[in-house]
Subunit: 129 residues, 2 copies
DNA sequence: CAGTATCCTGCTTGATACTG
DNA sequence: CAGTATCAAGCAGGATACTG
């Protein structure tokens, strides 16, 4: 009941020194986790990734990809065919991330409606306008 | 192998229309998930929350708290004692969120080192400076 | 195709001061 | 104590144009 239990639960989580981009819930940037999921079923090419990510700009996709590669979550393979072609794929580490992510996604699927309901209810309360 | 599998894995996740703040990995804003964890062991007062959150500004904390309340994840209880006092606590819905979050945190704990290693290795490669 | 280079905008966050 | 109001700043993200 004292203040003890108010200390950081996990030093990393609350430590701004630790790249906050690594905070457990925000894996990488806004897109990192989404990209990892897109690679779940196998390697994808740069332009292929832009589709499910709703036309994310090339710049941002490149940034995110570089970040994930830097963190050892994905690999980048440039094939030198007649046309340029680059594949991105999950590393074992990246793949392991799918497990906890699945838990979060499952929760979101199950409770999505409740959240929206709460939102609407809240919106109905302060009908100040 | 066709483009079929490249469609959004979960409509909500990739749909910018759906409040992106609800994307499974980014639960609420930057602070939402952290706050939920801070409430894991029981109700906390406004000023108590600022400690583990490393002195988050009152404005931002208020915003985050309002958002979580709006989504039915926490409750706000104002006690009218001699001094003002407000408690924030998890709702059952908010508490249920701890389960998937624990999975993510566990993963982060286990793989934190690997990520840092990969980062350092990557930093060592492009010693362009 | 797979990026890179710029420019630009908006949101998130923070600092500070003030209130009931 | 628990906020609200305001101002200011930084960075993520997007649009566009260009390159190997």
């Amino acid at each position: 009941m004292s203040e003890r239990s108010l200390e950081p639960l996990s030093a990393d989580m609350f430590d701004p020194v630790c790249p906050s981009s690594m905070s457990p819930i925000r894996i990488g940037d806004k897109w990192g986790a989404l990209i990892v999921r897109c690679l779940e079923d196998g390697p994808r090419r740069f332009s292929e990734l832009r589709v499910p990510l709703r036309g994310i700009s090339a710049k941002v996709l490149t940034q995110s990809l570089r970040g994930l590669e830097r963190d050892g979550l994905i690999t980048r393979t440039a094939h030198t065919d007649t046309i340029r072609r680059v594949d991105y794929a999950l590393t074992p580490l990246g793949r392991s991330m799918l497990v906890p992510m699945a838990a979060v996604c499952e929760w979101a699927d199950e409770n999505w409606d409740r959240l929206l309901d709460a939102r609407e209810a809240a919106a109905g309360l302060d009908r100040t306008a």
